[in-house]
């Protein structure tokens, strides 16, 4: 697929500036670039689970959204968009509207992996013509950096603080993209901010214009929660991909496709070291913990490659 960086970036913004998200927030980068996948002239209804994104972009009486936008609650972004899509079908059938609308809903990992999983699963299984986008920053950032099932092992969060005995989150992160792929929907993809957004752009466009349900899992770093130097977000994303912590893949009608294989797979340490949430892992005596993360990363990477063959 052709990708012109300049042209893509010059498309009119559908999330206006002036919202209250943090400087350098990965969430808004995810949103703006997903929405660039919409063709000009096509209308959209944007949905949102309660999240940083919601409370910061729709603070009464302001809206940062150029399209129609609906937020209801935390646990129900999937069901809410299903209702909008149902209304669209009903009104279209009855000749009350004739425009083309696309339906895109955003949730953080808390609203997607955890509290909203049931609602998401239902919406995916029913195959509504919608895209669910998870902007995955690996913790409940809106309430102040509590662990989620997307939080990587040993990350220091406010509910899994690294202490004299505890090493941060004890468990592995959930593989949500695989769970959604198991719904056998037409399109699932995992991406982040690399290659001048080419990977994300192509996947967003595919997701939006594939009839039926589509799911995008976008790693969206949070400078507050991850505690890296804010301007280094693109470097962090590249390291996530090159260490194979965050592989780029698609599942198209059940076929797994690996989109990127690093020429030189970097050690996981390179991804962990710049982040304050993993600082405790680099204290003397914790080498074993880093080794365990490496082991788990390798295991998952090999499993993914096997699926993609």
């Amino acid at each position: 697929m052709d990708y012109n960086f300049k042209e893509t970036m010059n498309k009119p913004e559908r999330l206006a500036p002036g919202h209250r998200m943090c400087a350098g927030c990965g969430g808004t980068i995810a949103v703006r670039n997903v929405l660039r996948g919409l063709h000009e002239g096509d209308k959209a209804v944007i949905g949102n689970a309660t999240s940083c994104l919601e409370v910061s972009t729709l603070m009464y009486p302001y809206s940062a959204w150029e399209d129609s936008y609906v937020h209801t609650a935390f646990a129900n972004a999937g069901a809410s968009m299903a209702g909008v899509e149902g209304a669209y079908k009903a009104l279209k059938k009855r000749g009350k509207i004739d425009d083309t609308y696309k339906f895109i809903t955003f949730g953080g990992d808390g609203g997607t992996y955890d509290i909203g999983l049931q609602s998401l699963s239902g919406a995916m299984e029913r195959n509504h013509d919608m895209v669910y986008v998870c902007y995955d920053n690996g913790a409940y950032m809106n309430t102040g950096i509590q662990r989620s099932s997307a939080t990587p092992m040993y990350a220091d969060t406010t509910t899994t603080p690294a202490g004299t005995v505890g090493h941060g989150k004890e468990q592995n992160r959930k593989d949500l993209a695989a769970i959604i792929a198991a719904h056998n929907i037409p399109y699932v993809a995992q991406t982040t901010f690399v290659q001048n957004f080419k990977d994300l752009h192509i996947k967003a466009e595919k997701a939006i214009y594939t009839p039926g349900a589509a799911f995008l899992n976008v790693m969206a770093p949070c400078p507050r929660g991850w505690r890296y130097n804010t301007p280094d977000i693109m470097e962090i994303c590249k390291l996530a991909v090159d260490t194979c912590y965050w592989p780029l893949f698609e599942v198209i009608d059940g076929e797994w496709v690996l989109n990127y294989e690093p020429k030189k797979k970097l050690p996981i340490e390179d991804f962990l070291r710049p982040q304050g949430r993993f600082k405790h892992l680099f204290e003397p005596g914790n080498e074993e913990l880093v080794a365990r993360i490496q082991e788990e990363t390798d295991r998952r990477w090999e499993a993914l490659k096997a699926r993609c063959k």
């Binding site: 209804v45 936008y69 609650a73 149902g86 209304a87 609308y101």
Partner: protein, 393 residues
């Protein structure tokens, strides 16, 4: 021409929905309301309606999808009971604060603890402060009639609030009774087309709904919601009057049964009113001046009108089919007593909890209540105002 039929309460509601042919119906089954979506699914499958019927995975989602469909510009609804309604607790408040017209067909059932599938009002009483209009029915005819009137009330521009139409689980929902059904065309014309002013799928403007309302705005939003609720009573009466014109059946805030000269009265909600009326008839035959008030519109609460209707009464028994654990009675009791207090009524009032988890209430039970009220009048004292009826102590 209206047609006579025999239907259960659930069948009557599903039939009314078929006649209305709403845009979107997200549904999740729960006893005893299951037949409503189930019967409706058959209408969909046979092409008798062209509603988008969305079989969601929970009641939280059925309410959420209905809210979003309404926000998108559709006429939407769902149906539920008991724990399903409890599971909707969060989105119920969202529906009303978003000022979305929306219908919820409630088939009243006890809330779990212990699990029980039979009738009481703990489910809808538990959400009486959610900002929804609540109408209750005594029988299948009223369930049908309330449903036909519901959208007209909910969609009125001065109101724009969601509405619950409640009927008693099994007693009304499953018992087959005679019913008079309106012609399809009559219902269609009565309900009319839904023409929302602002909605997500409006080609001429974008709309954002579900704002974060900080302390600077939250209270004004709630006040505006209360203002809309203040507009409900006159709309309910107006719609009731229009409905009477097409059906011959009249509806207001409550029904007064033999209250003209009554010195003792019972106030009750739902199917038990039918049993109570039998007791009134029986006692009237032996010359006792007893009457009954059946509350139809519980939210908003018609406090002033109700106190007016109880003006000449010496003693009142309020019957609640729900506990509220205040140690002084149930929710209807609290509301009626507050109404009497505001009206500076001299009536002595007592409150009974009855019928929890489907416990039967009989004519004999009502006769006992009227007998108790006679004692209250004789003693010129209400005595214990927090009582139970039909329970093993």
């Amino acid at each position: 021409m209206a047609t006579k039929d025999r239907l259960s309460g659930n069948e009557a509601v599903a039939f009314a929905l078929k006649q209305i042919n709403p845009d979107v119906f997200p549904a999740f089954p729960i006893t005893p309301s299951t037949e409503i979506p189930q019967n409706f699914a058959t209408y969909v499958s046979n092409g008798e309606v062209d509603t988008e019927f969305i079989t969601v995975e929970s009641e939280h989602s059925s309410m959420s999808a209905a809210i979003a469909a309404s926000a998108a510009g559709a006429r939407a609804l769902t149906a539920t009971s008991s724990c399903g309604l409890a599971y909707m607790f969060e989105p119920l408040y969202i529906a009303s604060s978003d000022r979305l017209p929306l219908l919820l067909a409630v088939v009243n059932r006890a809330l779990t603890g212990p699990i029980n599938i039979n009738c009481d009002h703990s489910d809808s009483m538990g959400v009486r402060e959610s900002g929804w209009i609540q109408l209750y029915a005594e029988n299948n005819q009223e369930a049908y009639d309330n449903l036909v009137q519901a959208y007209r009330i909910s969609e009125n521009p001065a109101v724009r609030l969601p509405i619950m139409v409640c009927q008693d689980g099994f007693i009304t929902s499953h018992a087959v009774q005679n019913i008079e059904l309106l012609e399809d065309e009559a219902v269609k014309n009565f309900v009319g087309e839904y023409e929302p002013e602002h909605y997500l799928l409006n080609r001429d403007e974008v709309m954002a709904i579900g704002s974060y309302g900080v302390s600077d705005y939250y209270m004004e939003a709630k006040r505006a919601q209360a203002e809309a609720m203040l507009n409900v009573p006159s709309v309910v009466l107006e719609v009731g009057k229009d409905f009477e014109a097409i059906s011959g059946r009249s509806y207001g805030f409550f029904e007064e049964y033999k209250m003209e000269d009554a010195d003792r009265a019972v106030v009750v909600i739902g199917s038990a009113a039918g049993t109570g009326k039998d007791a009134v008839d029986m006692l009237r035959e032996s010359g006792e001046k007893v009457g009954l008030i059946k509350v139809r519109m519980y939210r908003p609460f018609p406090a002033e009108a109700l106190a007016g209707a109880l003006k000449g009464v010496k003693a009142v028994a309020v019957l609640d089919r729900a506990e509220s654990y205040t140690n002084c009675g149930g929710p209807l009791g609290a509301d009626v007593m507050a109404a009497l207090f505001r009206a500076r009524s001299q009536a002595l009032a007592v409150n009974y909890i009855y019928g929890l988890g489907g416990r039967d209430i009989t004519v004999k039970d009502f006769a006992k209540v009227y007998e108790d009220l006679a004692e209250v009048v004789r003693n010129d004292s209400a005595g214990d105002t927090y009582r139970y009826l039909g329970v093993r102590e």
